[in-house]
Amino acid sequence: MIRQALAVFRKDLASELRTRYAINALLMFVVVTLAVIMFALAGETLSPGALTGMLWVVMFFAAMSGLSRSFVAEEERGTTMTLQLLATPMGVYLGKLLFNLVLVMALNLFIVLLFLLTMDQFVVKQFGLFWVVMLLGSLGIASATTIIAAIIAKANTKGTLFPVLSFPVLLPLLMAGINATKIAVEDQHWDAVWPDLQLLASYIVVITTVSFLLFDFVWKD
């Protein structure tokens, strides 16, 4: 299963590097969004708290525009059946999860770095905590969007349906993530952030487990 997962992951990565379907569009999306925010904020000073909210908004919509590719691409190319004949559902799920995880982490790293470079008011006081929150947030986003991408790949209106289905499921993660990031940006101590980290961690475990149990039904026709 692990071998299959790695093979699926390598295939997706090679395919992505060759076609650059997602990467180019995503990078442009992030740059354009940040540019719009900077235009809109020209001259205004925003509190770090408000900027944190904005950072998560950019992260959420970037994920919404790129993460459904993994399954939608298989469905659009008509290779779903090929993959079904090559690997177990678990192997496929794990591989896709891994690919989405790498994609989200790279994407979020890019967004955060751009944010730090371009937004002068965005000063992080607790970098260690900040990266922990970003890591957990990326894990949660990847896990929740993978199963939802698998669901919407079978539907007609894939593009619009993805954020519609993802948002309510991702909301607990977003709220805890925004709260924890705010504390990392402003505050000095770890105690205040502990409940949020606990919530993020349990959310990740719950959504990954439920995806494992249900992926069979989604994947098989």
Binding site: R3, Q4, A7, V8, R10, K11, A14, S15, R18, T19, R77, G78, T79, M81, T82, Q84, L85, L86, A87, T88, G91, K220, D221
Partner: protein, 205 residues
């Protein structure tokens, strides 16, 4: 590989495609499935291949006297069909390495070359199979199906898009598989049917 189908039926949106199909295919047989367009030949083949769940009835597979569990079935099947798409952004060789890796096999260059030669494809083309002709793609599908030497070969219109040379390759394959495995063939082509030991006809209801 022995395949036993008992009272298999399939419905889409409550509309019945076919009803109550039963048959037994023994090892060493080439079993034909015929029927008019839209009668559900491909649907039945997909069900046999474990890609679709039947609405009613059941299927049992036995290999070397041992039942094959449903979640392991994909390892025992080679599938060729016009609606099967391969990863077109990769070259022929990359595709083969990809299938081997997913199936947990290790494969070297000489093996890859042998496979390509067996279906009459050039071994020196490095471009993506997107640029292949439809006949060449069909030959690639044959590689996809036989790479892991499966005991059960499922063929849906296997000679479509193939020239006479390609057709000869398919029929050679049929004879090879008959010797050590089982073939189930869905077709309406008279020449294909001539290669079958037995045939059933699926009728639309």
């Amino acid at each position: 590989m022995r395949v036993v189908a008992g009272h298999v039926s399939k419905k889409f949106n409550r509309r019945s495609v076919f009803r109550d199909i039963s048959f037994v295919v023994e090892k060493g047989e080439v079993f034909g499935i015929t029927g008019r367009n839209g009668s559900g030949k491909s649907t039945l083949l997909r069900i046999i291949g474990g890609l679709l769940t039947p609405s009613g009835g059941n299927l049992q597979y036995t290999h070397d006297e041992r039942p094959v569990p449903a979640e392991q079935l994909y390892q025992y099947i080679g599938y060729v069909a016009p609606y099967l798409t391969l990863y077109e952004e990769f070259s022929a060789e990359e595709n083969i390495v990809l299938y081997a890796r997913l199936r947990g096999m290790t494969i070297d260059t000489s093996h890859t070359r042998r496979l390509l030669e067996r279906v009459g494809l050039p071994t020196d083309r490095k471009d993506a199979i997107r640029s292949f002709s439809s006949g060449m793609k069909q030959r690639m599908r044959l590689v996809f199906a036989i790479l892991h030497e499966p005991p059960l070969l499922l063929l849906d219109e296997p000679v479509s898009n193939l020239d006479s040379e390609g057709m000869a390759i398919v029929y050679t394959l049929l004879q090879e598989f008959r010797a050590r495995g089982t073939v189930i063939l869905a077709t309406n082509d008279a020449e294909d049917i001539a290669h079958c030991d037995r045939c059933i006809s699926v009728e639309a209801v």
